[in-house]
Amino acid sequence: MATLNSGKAAFLWRQLVSENPMSVEVGRFRRRFLEGTRSRNLNTTILVLALVAYASLMVVLSNMSGELSPNSLIFVQTGVFVLLAPTFMYSAIAGEREKRTWDLLLAAPVTHAQIAVGKFLAGLAGLGATLVLFILPTLFTSFTFDNERNYMVPDSGVPLAHGVSGTAAFANEEFISITFGIMLLAATLLFSARCRRSLMSLSVMLISLFAGLLAFPALITSFAYADAGNAFMDVASFFHPFLAIEKIEELHRASVPQGMAFGLIQPWGFGVLQGILYLALTAVFLVWACKTVNFADGEKKFMPGKRNA
């Protein structure tokens, strides 16, 4: 049974990744974003913004070593992922339809899954490149950050003892950030597969992000000071990458009782569990996108339902 599964997994890996002809998308993607063409103003702008942000980060870092925590950089990195992932993927499939190259791909000897995964790999490569930009300064701050100076029991001059080890917290936060970025890629790919227009898929993605990252937590926080407050906050933190990263950081900084009152979710629940949840969602979105890809005539509606003839 186990060998059967691993054989199947190896087959899938070969078909979708290592021997997938659609992985040529990665190179195309690199050319599009790095060798910038005039027609891609939006993408180029965002790329330039990201580079400017990177440069200023480096300046800030060299000026305030000891004060900037790796946590804040991971925060910024997650924010950049939130901006970039939709830009990378929103036109992946809807754009092919607009250019009418979609039929050519469907008439080519590649499976729907290969097309979708090829597009996804391209986005993944873009996300990887962004991560590389961030990982160096983040690692840098993780060494230079002065725990003794920055985390102290208020008005006492006594350093806090750490609840979670620094390395574990750092790894957990990165894991959440990266997996969340990956999930956003898959989600945008799914929207791109289900929308007729690429701008439509971008809008849907941005609205979902707004709802998920801003509206939903705001709603939760409004309950947070009521009786069940901490439980609500815990749930919100669990599903929200930024809040989760913040929570891990708080757990890391404070072992003293005044710091946290635990609600529904135990401290160990933050980090790996979220990452796994995001990866699971990624798989779901990808499979869904593959299943959506199968139409050349008549477009599918955005939500599943009756297929037009």
Binding site: P21, K99, A107
Partner: protein, 309 residues
């Protein structure tokens, strides 16, 4: 060998293709003629595995289009009636992308790209951006794309629309060359003179039904069993007409004011010669006696009613 048997496609109440059957052998250049909405594109898209037939089958070299679409896709080159170009890539990159998708070995790719560029007369545009090409060049690039994987069957949906007369002539040459290379070429069009020149087989489709199919001269002959003859006499026209009318095999005689007699004659060449001899020996002065050449256009107009669903 391409064998199409009873292919049908139904869209709700509308039968777009109604029991189409034909067979083509390597080297055949098949002109698929029909007015707007006749069902040409629908048929071609079914062969390209983009549309599922409602019923019926088609096999190419023994491979069924529905049972093994992947294998079929490797064997066909499909040129849709729209462009389907990526505008942000260079000409060679566009071809390289599709060569990769069609699993053309990396070692041969650049050689093959050079070859197809040569064939389509685009060599000097190798490094140009696709969007900078003229319409006709883009069309030829589409054709070049169909050729990168050396397909056995080419499905060209209105390849000549938008081409200037010179480019048309070149396309004609290219298609003839592809036929000589042993490929099956299906060319759809509603511009008849365009097809007549280079197809060795034609099919006339109207409202989804194939009205005639076969080698060009056979189709013309089959529908034009009666010969159309014009006789120009300098003597009395009515008298000559009466003489002709009395002959065996003459179906219809009309006279025109300028001394011309139009005859629909159902006899062979011998009978035709005898008719001329009879006129002269009866004392008529014949200045002209010629058979009107029936062409595809006549056949087309005679067969189709121009009705569109």
């Amino acid at each position: 060998m391409l064998e199409i048997q009873n292919l049908r496609k139904v869209y709700g109440p509308l039968t777009a293709v109604n029991g189409l059957s034909l067979s083509l052998k390597p080297g055949d250049v098949f002109g698929f003629i029909g007015s707007n909405g006749a069902g040409k594109t629908t048929t071609i898209r079914m062969l390209a595995t983009l549309l599922e037939p409602t019923s019926g089958t088609a096999t190419l070299n023994g491979v069924d289009i529905q049972k093994d679409p992947m294998e079929i896709r490797r064997m066909i080159g499909y040129m849709p009636d729209f462009f389907g170009l990526y505008d942000d890539v260079k000409v060679w990159e566009y071809l390289d992308f599709f060569a990769t998708i069609y699993s053309v070995p990396k070692a041969h790719r650049s050689e093959i790209i050079d070859n197809v560029l040569e064939m389509t007369d685009l060599t000097i545009k190798r490094d140009a951006m696709v969007q900078s090409l003229s319409r006709g060049m883009q069309q030829r690039l589409c054709l070049a794309r169909c050729l990168v994987h050396d397909p056995a069957l080419l499905l060209l949906d209105e390849p000549a629309s938008g081409l200037d007369p010179r480019a048309r002539a070149e396309l004609k040459e290219l298609i003839l060359e592809l036929g000589r290379m042993g490929k099956i070429v299906i060319v759809s069009s509603h511009i008849l003179p365009e097809l007549a020149g280079f197809c060795n087989t034609v099919g006339i489709i109207e409202r989804g039904t194939l009205l005639a199919f076969g080698p060009v001269d056979q189709v013309i002959q089959g529908l034009h069993s009666a010969r159309s003859i014009r006789i120009h006499v300098l003597t009395d026209v009515e008298e000559a007409a009466a003489l002709v009318r009395a002959r065996e095999g003459v179906l219809l005689v009309e006279t025109a004011k300028d001394g011309e007699v139009h005859v629909e004659f159902n006899g062979d060449l011998e009978g035709q010669a005898a008719l001329l001899e009879h006129l002269i020996s009866s004392g008529h002065r014949v200045a002209g006696f010629y058979e009107e050449q029936a062409d595809l256009e006549d056949v087309f107009l005679k067969l189709t009613t121009g009705a569109v669903q």
